[in-house]
Symmetry: C2
């Protein structure tokens, strides 16, 4: 009943007829994004404000991954803007892979439980034949205090609880990827070797379903390194063999970093694919 009202800044509010767009009181969004005066400092177009509001609903869990969000007409009514403005907001969210449109059915929250999303974060492909998903084998899971560097990148305090995971992924039984992961312990409570091993499919699917954390983007740095003893043993190669070293920081809604990953890829029969465009 604390029906706060947030006034959206608009371009033609001074002239058009029935234009005083308000957010309906049911909207959870508290901060639309700044001062929000109609003048022009910190001006942002209406559809960007709508986009921010939709993103907030995604972040708050009002609509969960895989679920249908309200139709464009409903959202237009809710936000008191035209359907075209909502459409443009959703256009961008769709381009950023936060939602998926399906003609005739509606717009769905993106999920990592879909064929189309499987290879967005797995860029290693076989030199011959079609890409396919590797088998997972968890080597170990530990709870530790976050080292300074890990804490810095995960935006938590040094010494805070953290989860460390080591796993090996194999293609057709051949060990090819050795991953070391760091996760914030506060979010990933109750993550065990058993749970990870019994889960089939991409780990980000499990993170999303079990821990309410949906990864929306990641930033990677790639180098060539030599295999150390540990990598050599787990990937069945000689010490000193060349490996691709892929360091990743993954982000969830609100560009919050929630995963740190160091992957060592054996690239004798696979390659990291990348499209420059």
């Amino acid at each position: 009943m604390n029906g706060f009202v947030v006034k959206l800044q608009t371009m033609n509010s001074t002239t058009s007829s029935a234009n005083n767009p308000l957010i309906s009181p049911t909207t959870p969004g508290a901060g639309v994004g700044g001062p929000s005066v109609n003048a022009s400092p910190t001006f942002s177009p209406l559809y960007q404000q709508i986009k921010a509001l939709i993103t907030q609903s995604l972040q708050s869990g009002e609509w969960k991954p895989g679920e249908l969000i309200p139709s464009e007409m409903e959202l237009a009514a809710r936000f008191k803007v035209s359907q075209g403005t909502v459409r443009k907001a959703i256009d961008e969210l769709s381009a950023e892979n936060l939602v998926v449109r399906r003609q005739g059915k509606g717009t769905f929250v993106a999920t990592h439980h879909e064929a189309r999303a499987q290879f967005r974060f797995l860029r290693l492909a076989p030199d011959e034949g079609a890409p396919h998903y590797p088998e997972n084998q968890i080597v170990e899971v530990k709870r530790l205090r976050a080292p300074a560097e890990v804490a810095r990148l995960l935006d938590i305090k040094s010494g805070d609880s953290a989860v460390f995971i080591r796993r090996v992924q194999s293609f057709s039984g051949v060990p090819t990827i050795l991953d070391d992961l760091w996760l914030p312990g506060a979010i990933f409570k109750g993550l065990t070797v058993e749970r990870l091993n019994e889960y089939k499919g991409p780990m980000y699917g499990l993170f999303e379903t079990e821990f309410g954390t949906h990864m929306i983007r990641a930033s990677e740095q790639i180098r060539a390194v030599c295999a150390d003893e540990i990598a050599a043993q787990l990937l069945h190669v000689d010490v000193g063999a060349p490996l691709l070293n892929v360091e990743r920081v993954s982000f969830t809604y609100g560009d919050k970093p929630v995963e740190l990953r160091r992957g060592l890829y054996l690239t004798s029969h696979h390659h990291y694919r990348n499209e420059l465009s």
Copy 2:
């Protein structure tokens, strides 16, 4: 004077009033893309057809890199569609980096002679400090008959003329990138060591200006390898040192492959950056 007329297929042509969109006879485009009957096989929306026509004008050189293309209103008149339809076509071309919009000024053909495009095809960044452009040193330029594999990837005939270039790029005087390039000889006539060495700035800028070939996208495959004698000597590392092996095929308008490149990157103090989204 062979003024052919190409009929665009449209969605509401059966009902709307003044709707029989035609391409003006001056349009160079011969094949809009298939049978083009209004029924529904091979249906494509109007804005996609407009986009294809604009792309053809880019490809034909009617508008060259860096130049201003006609305004949305002019294009709408030329193609006999609404401004909104032209806008949607240009929206996609802009998203694909074929053109660049500048509010108040117009829409320009994308060029590699711009700060904003400099790092689109150069993904190696220093571990510390801001990205910057390396110095070029051409090691050799040769004209050869294309080997079978090169010919296959460049979509030319085995034995056709080809240009081979080897160069070393350095950051602050430190050799870091060894590139071997293959180009179709038919396109890159008159390319010499001198011309390449005297040209300052990205090679794709020179290709665009001197050979009318603008790169629009590229596909890369990345592996970790060990330095051989040649690489070791040119990059000042030991034989066997781990290097990033980046194989690239670059495409110009019409997705025509026009460059093959094998880069060896020294990643001791640099990394290949990649955003997953």
